[in-house]
Amino acid sequence: MNTFKRLAARGTLFGASPWITTSIFLIPVVVGLLGTWLPAFGWLPAIDSRRFSLAPWQQLFAYPGADSAIVKTLVTGLGASALALLITLLILIGLYPSKIFNQIERSLAPLLSMPHAAFAIGLGLLIMPSGWLVRLLATFTEALSTPPLWTTFQDAQGISLIFALALKEIPFLLFMSLAVLPTLKAKQTLALAGSLGHSKRYAWTWLLLPRLYKQIKLPFYAVVAYSLTVVDIAMIAGPTTPPTLAVLVNQWFYNPDFQYRMVGAAGATLLLLINVVTLLVLHLSEKPLEKLRTAMLNKGAHHRKRFHWETPAAIVASLSLIGLYIASILQILFWSFASRWRYPDLLPEHFSLRSWGRIFNRIEEPFFCSFWLAVLSAFIALVLTILMLENEVRIKQRKPGFDAQRSVLIVYLPLLIPQIAFLFGFQVFLIQTRLDANFYSLLWSHCVFVIPYVFLTLSGPYRKFDQRYSVAAVTLCSCPAKSFWKVKFQILLRPILYAFATGFSVSIAQYLPTLFVGAGKFSTITTEAVAMTSGSDRRLIAVMALWQQILPLIIFLLATLVPSLLFKNRKAMQQSSI
């Protein structure tokens, strides 16, 4: 403790924090990428393969359905990202600023806290031919008295995957946009454009969207990278024969024939390539689009009276979004307690606790593993994030012109590189250094993905903090530590707890890191839930999905309740500024 204090007093800990964080990111990424690239070209000493060759690539392209898997990857990944971006923009154009929008803003936290896999499971149960949607239709028409033979989930075209991904990413993009709208002076711009006789749509399309896009570019890239390369959601909601490339790669990595490790490595590298090229194309298309916009803008506005469809469309979109989330949670909830639930009945005939009981026997270990991973990784991420942001304050004190945005790119790195492109290599590295199947290695791998989200959630409110409070506090009590804990930390308690909850739910949702780094020795409720989706009873799947959701929800609830209770008599502390 004394050393800690001395380090903190000299500011070394603050100065070191960006380096500690960067190495937590960079070591797994760099080691992991190399450890994947080498086997992709035939070098994998672990299985006695020490000759560079293109054989893994030839095997990859010769694999039945590989080309179709690549096409599906592109269609679902790009489709989902585009859909998510368009609906996010539609909701902003149609509803910002308005009372409805404030309502949506308030519902974002629970939507964000829902693990991807749990949402995909719920959505699946909902839209399957025997789900609530079809049952609801069946009450109106005789034609549906038996479940139809439609494939509405895990369809070969990947439509259900596109929807599952897009619906899960819209809240994230909305959340990231909300953080930057004030800096764009969106309300003022809209009012000004209105006074000049332009419509809201005109102001958004030509004035605000281009600037907003620049600000949410990195989150959007993260969405693209995620959608192109996700494994767990694609296993639950995606097409099966063949699946998307990411799922195929994962199958290769777990093929009993060790030769397939190298095919998997080649596939993972191909996925990385697809990802990099896609992001590069997006980046390069910005300049031409910008030129086009300026040209269009210079032509002047057309004051045509047009129907303002965007507001009703945005209302429909946001209601469906929230409705689908609620419906899928309820659908899971009902299934988990159902004992007999015949087709077209809207409600189960009997309820029972049997499924909960059956899961209870096998939940204990994964439950505690998930819990400790999430608590510890969120805590480590929070400490590092606060140290880095305090370091920023110190640097700004010395150099007021310091641009904090530069650090953002490095924070985004783990979100822009596909997990599957480096986790295999990282696993090989861990095995070789005998650090595999070790709880701390697993924790490390979770931190790689938890830190970025904690940093992104906390940095906004933290940077907005009026530093004069701290100056006043230090001059009053002569003690920087007391002034931090009693003033800054407490004023920022709400966003700090919110960031912790975000990190917690990100860790709970991790699938691939646990699969690869846990090496079968550790399982979490998420790996269990995903494993169960192939073939189990849907009641058991429902219970598992609920367990997955309960933990983050409780933490988010605490994160909102604790500050509200602590500051219940402090009016100025009541507005939830996350």
Binding site: Q397, R398, K399, P400, G401, D466, R468, Y469, V471, A472, A473, V474, T475, L476, C477, S478, C479, P480, S483, K486, V487, Q490, I491, L493, L566, F567, N569, R570, K571, A572, M573
Partner: protein, 212 residues
């Protein structure tokens, strides 16, 4: 107690913000620094506090009670500051705000007594448990100054202290502030762009912008 600035000058990129000046004030005295906006008034206060951004550099001395304080960190300078915004901590009530700066060596009872008598001198008796957000601007300003004075600084800095108050409140509050400073018997440095804020007895410094 006394406070002095000697041959004091601040430069930015080798350009002086103002001509060098010296200021010497005794306990209970007010040194008033005026000058056009952008002349570096608030920068001087940052430097006295020890939070001068590194892009600036200073020449000359800052001495408080004959002791050079330029090497000390903010917390050890015993300099209090009063901003135009009250900067009362929103998560603490009036009592908790006031007790924050009271030297720890006092007992709980002594602290409570100090606060209660300070509040009643300010016409705010019984306000201990009030939430900051429910107070008027004038009440907040008074509590903010009390908070600074209760921390027993050896020098108090006033950064445009009255500019956010409305006319009516302003005169009344101004004379109250100067009375409090005299009672406390410490030197004060006032920075303002408004000549009406400066008491007759003050040692006046008008910054000359250097166009060198």
């Amino acid at each position: 107690m006394c406070f002095e600035l000697t041959d004091f000058q601040i430069t930015l990129n080798n350009e002086a913000l103002f001509e060098p000046f010296s200021l010497h004030i005794k306990a209970g005295q007010i040194g008033a620094i005026t000058g056009p906006s952008g002349s570096g008034k608030s920068t001087i206060l940052s430097d006295i506090l020890g939070v001068l951004p590194a892009i600036f550099s200073r020449s000359g001395n800052i001495r408080l009670n004959e002791k050079d304080i330029t090497g000390l960190p903010t917390g050890q300078r015993h300099v209090g500051i009063f901003f135009q915004d009250d900067l009362l901590f929103p998560h603490l009530n009036v009592f908790e705000n006031l007790v924050f700066g009271i030297p720890a060596k006092l007992s709980k009872k002594e602290k409570a007594q100090k606060i209660s008598s300070a509040l009643s001198h300010a016409g705010l008796q019984g306000f201990e448990k009030r939430d900051i957000a429910t107070l008027s601007g004038g009440q907040r300003a008074r509590i903010s100054l009390l908070r600074t004075l209760l921390s027993e600084p050896k020098l108090i800095l006033l950064d445009e202290p009255f500019s956010k108050l409305d006319e009516e409140l302003r005169d009344q509050f101004r004379s109250w502030v100067f009375k409090q400073i005299q009672l406390q018997d410490i030197p004060a440095v006032l920075v303002t762009h408004d000549a009406r804020d400066i008491p007759e007895s003050a040692v006046k410094i008008e910054l000359e912008v250097s166009y060198a």
